[in-house]
Amino acid sequence: MGIIDVHVHHRWGGEEECPTAELERTKRLAQMSGISSILLLGAVLSIPPSPSPEQIQVSNSNTLRIMERDPDFFWGACYLNPAHSPAFIRSEARRCVEAGMLALKLWIAVKASDPRFDPVMEAAAELEVPVFIHAWYKTTGNLEQESNGADIAHLARRFPNVDIALLHLPGVKYRGVADVKDLPNVWVDTSGGQPEADIVEYAVRHLGADRLLYGSDAPGRHYGTQLGRVAGAAISAEDKEKILWRNALTLLKRERARVKPGATKEANA
């Protein structure tokens, strides 16, 4: 089994033609680092931080089209904005998951401790998919609606039946690990930031290797640089294998998921 990268974005956020050459480059670069599948977490770099329902739908439909092109390599997550109506959140999550998406993804539109997250979590529970949420502790100050580790922990306590992937171990660092240590429904991805030493070993010591997932945050980051953080950590080969692909398969329940033929046509009708 090759490496699974659970944190990649695409830049296809609008109605323009599919950026085929860019996607092919993404695949070539990922494969150069031994990556066999990537989970696309939406076109966050191409649409506003708090996107409209229409922008969400277009971004998700584009993700589905990419998945349909190469379903073994491109996996997808449904990008949502908790500021939208519960009815829209429910219907968009269902549309995407029924079409083959494996997770829900939230970025910086609303903090994870905000009650507006509830419809997202309820949809995740109903559809039995994990929720991927950006988080960071920035010395320079978080964005107004940017979650930190404590926000994620608060949410995880309120929804113990939903698996959450806290994104950016190098962003939340030691405090973030401590925030979620006792919450077995929280997983942590290793994506983003510079490859500062020690944090992977610390996370394995305190969380265990079973709750860690390799992610890169490409194309803002490089697959290899981000991979070196895990491959170069002083942890066992067995733990590296868990982080690099085994845990992702477990969390994403990949065996049940396939892009359904014609799903994207139906979604865009």
Partner: protein
């Protein structure tokens, strides 16, 4: 195999780093595929006089055939000439490093130009460290702004025969400066903080292939990360060889 122009040795106060000895650091770097490393004392960031850090760490580094010792100087201190003399005579340092943000002076300060002229005369390479960490990750009681890459580029322009390395710049900082004017021919760019989907290819868009240098920033960074940064690139194999090995070998006249 790679030549690393940016390795630190000693104690880093802000988070744990594994290597406890010169032999440990060599072992960690060799495991990542590094064949030689130009290293400096990490204590120099915060010691009031970086020469104390040089004297603590450079004897061990100079005694190793794996390491090239490099000194950290603070040109605002009155003893800078004495320190330079000791580092050159005792440990034959081919490279002097400046940490302007940590030692609180600007790269365009007259004392930097004075030191640059002396290093040029002695044919010593000058490295200016832009940053040691992502500013978002600094300890809140020790927030240090980055050095301006544009000012390092200007320093290189003012001293056209001095070889200057900018260590720890971000990709966008390099690109912004290069958009205004081509980077000076005597300016080298170390790659440890350059990040994008393909950092080496992106760096090659604005820097000559002969001017890129591989650096691990170990032990603050996992060294393998920066090895992969170069190896897992769509850049040509010649560009990778130059960045990983040849450019540093030429700069420091290593066989």
């Amino acid at each position: 195999m790679a030549i690393d122009v940016n390795a630190g040795y000693g104690h880093w106060p802000f988070y744990p780093t594994a290597p406890r000895s010169v032999a440990d650091l060599e072992s960690v770097l060799r495991e990542a595929g590094v064949e030689r490393a130009c290293a400096y004392p990490l204590e120099a960031y915060l010691f009031p006089d970086p020469q104390d850090a040089n004297e603590r760490r450079l004897p061990e580094l100079a005694a190793s055939s794996f390491f090239l010792p490099s000194a950290v100087l603070n040109p605002t201190l009155p003893n800078v000439w004495h320190s330079l003399g000791i580092c050159r005579q005792r440990w034959e340092v081919p490279l002097v490093r400046l940490l302007p943000s940590y030692h609180q002076y600007r790269v365009d300060a007259p004392v930097v130009d004075t030191l640059a002229r002396e290093l040029d005369r002695e044919q010593v390479v000058l490295a200016v460290h832009i940053r040691a960490q992502d500013e978002r990750a600094h300890n809140p009681i020790a927030q240090v702004p980055p050095v301006s890459f544009a000012e390092v580029s200007s320093l290189a322009e003012r001293h056209a025969k001095l070889r200057v390395i900018a260590v720890g710049a971000y990709a966008h900082e390099i690109a912004q400066t290069a958009r205004r004017a081509p980077l000076p021919d005597n300016l080298y760019v170390e790659l440890s903080f350059v990040e994008s989907e393909d950092p080496l290819s992106d760096a090659l868009r604005v820097c000559a292939p002969e001017r890129l240098l591989f650096g691990t920033h170990a032990p603050l960074f996992y060294p393998l990360a920066n090895v992969y940064k170069v190896e897992h690139s769509e850049a040509s194999s010649d560009a990778k060889r130059r960045a990983l090995h040849q450019n540093a070998a030429d700069l420091f006249k290593l066989m």
